[in-house]
Amino acid sequence: MENVVEAQKSLREVKTRGEFLERFFKLSLGFWALFAGLLFPILAGVILLYEARLAIEKFGFIHFLTYTNWDPVQEDFGAATMIFGTVVSTFLSMLIAAPVAIGIAIFITELAPNWFKPIVSTAVELLAAIPSIIYGLWGFFILTPIMATKVEPWLQDKLGDIPLIGKLFQGAPTGVDVLNTSLVLSIMIIPFMASVVRDAFNMVPPIMKESAYGLGATKWEVIRQVVIPYTASGIAGGLILSAGRALGETMAVTFLAGNNPQIPRSLLEPFTTITVALANQFTEADTDVYLSALYYAGLLLYLVSFAMLGIAKFMVLRLEKRWKV
């Protein structure tokens, strides 16, 4: 009889202890989940905002966005040049990377024999794993001299005299400019873009492709008229995701951009971006307004990148929802 009572008591103890641990577990795990996805992003934004308040008060919003003068001596700051640089280099790198990434995704999903697929996939992922400072180092030591002495003069020679396009190729070919930076940036984002597009392609239900084949379509026609339209929002999402990443790229751009605090008038001129300005000037901003202006630019970058990544995510999710069974 006692055994039963004792057994029941110990069972109750185990139960209460178990329930307590259950709640404790849930709360602590939940807290960290909340931290990772809500508290931390908001806190980061608030801190950036707080540090930027001096500059926001002094320069306002529209003015800061459109004023091209970044003058530490006069303490007069406008972020237009670095915003321009960020936008242009991101846009150009996307332009170069997008067809390549889509091509790689097509190759992996449609063309490559099964034994070759993992090799190409691995190669592309290795590209993604290389740290960005290595891209900067390699770009600066190896690619820039080639661009400066062979490629850019050749481009200037061939295209410099064409009426409109020629204007894009003026200036001393130093290799430290918009063109080279965008090229290296594009190489950096190809792997990410390719894997997003490939995942999107893999989501197309085989039956759709098979029915097209059944009607006599060629492989390319299936890709162009079945796969791509159905994954369109996924591809667009992938593009925007990669753009969001390229926006925040610092090290490679710092090595190759040339730190010119002015809007470049050609592809062969040096420029600057928000990340480059932060990297170079943060430890030396010798007045509070200067540092605050840098934080202001950083805050803008944070918000824009967050928004872009959010939109991209939304588009990719829409694709997943459509096709997940």
């Binding site: 989940a33 990434a101 091509g103 992996i108 490559a112 995510k313």
Partner: protein, 295 residues
Amino acid sequence: MSKKVRRKLFSNFMLFLSFITSAYGIFWLFWILGSLFINGFKYLSPELIYLDPTPPGQEGGGLRPAFVGHLIITSLATLIGVPIGIMAGIYFAEYGRNSKFFMTIRQITDIMVSTPSILMGAVVYAVLVKPVGHFNGFSGAVALALLMLPVIAITTDEMLKLVPKEMREAAYALGAYKWQVIKNVVMRAAKVGIMTGVILGVARIAGETAPLLFTSFNNNVLTFDLRDPMASLTVTMFNYVMGPYHYWHQQAWAAAFILTMGVLLLSIIARVLLHRNLLEPLFYIVRSITGKKGG
């Protein structure tokens, strides 16, 4: 030429183009890795690791403070970021799946994975450097941990989702509490996957430079004290590449080689852990050499 043949030709042409793009991508990979091998290997020497740097212009010296500092900062960042990331990931996978709120939180975490890393440095500077009064290694580790956190959380979530629900149901049927199911069943099953996520997270932060630029900053002198500014491989490489001295460039190449090999090795290990069938061809060869049948 019939329309059918024309269409087929065009299709083959476009597919050929896609092959070209893949070759284009692989071309860059080989060029970059090749340059790293050739230039980095050439200047590798054991002195790099146990000598301190010399004054500028004076040849020789090594990168001891940078190697040690990098190891310390990366390890500490892992110690901070991994447990938090795993805990967050467990919640997303096991508790939060039915809650729209938490699924949104999870998406936001995924967005944080791709946030500009330099901004993390700026945030940590305001919190851990300015109030303290000087740059310190600890703030560098925290900045890296904050970068690692979303990565680990997302990969943990993904790996746990792969565990079949039958396993969980079996454990519940035996009367287990949820935390027991997670601790003893699900985590064990996803062990390898989570390990992979951790390795990938470490590989990612080991290569970071920007967040360290104004948190741990730099130091010419070897130090183990986290309250001091600390050197790191990446920041040192940054300074050396931008400098004029040839021996600085050589040391930067060697450091770049070591860093990249380390990061790539980690990535490959992670991949192999995930897709163990990648090693099958290797095992097959080994088996056929040793003559063992049906391994």
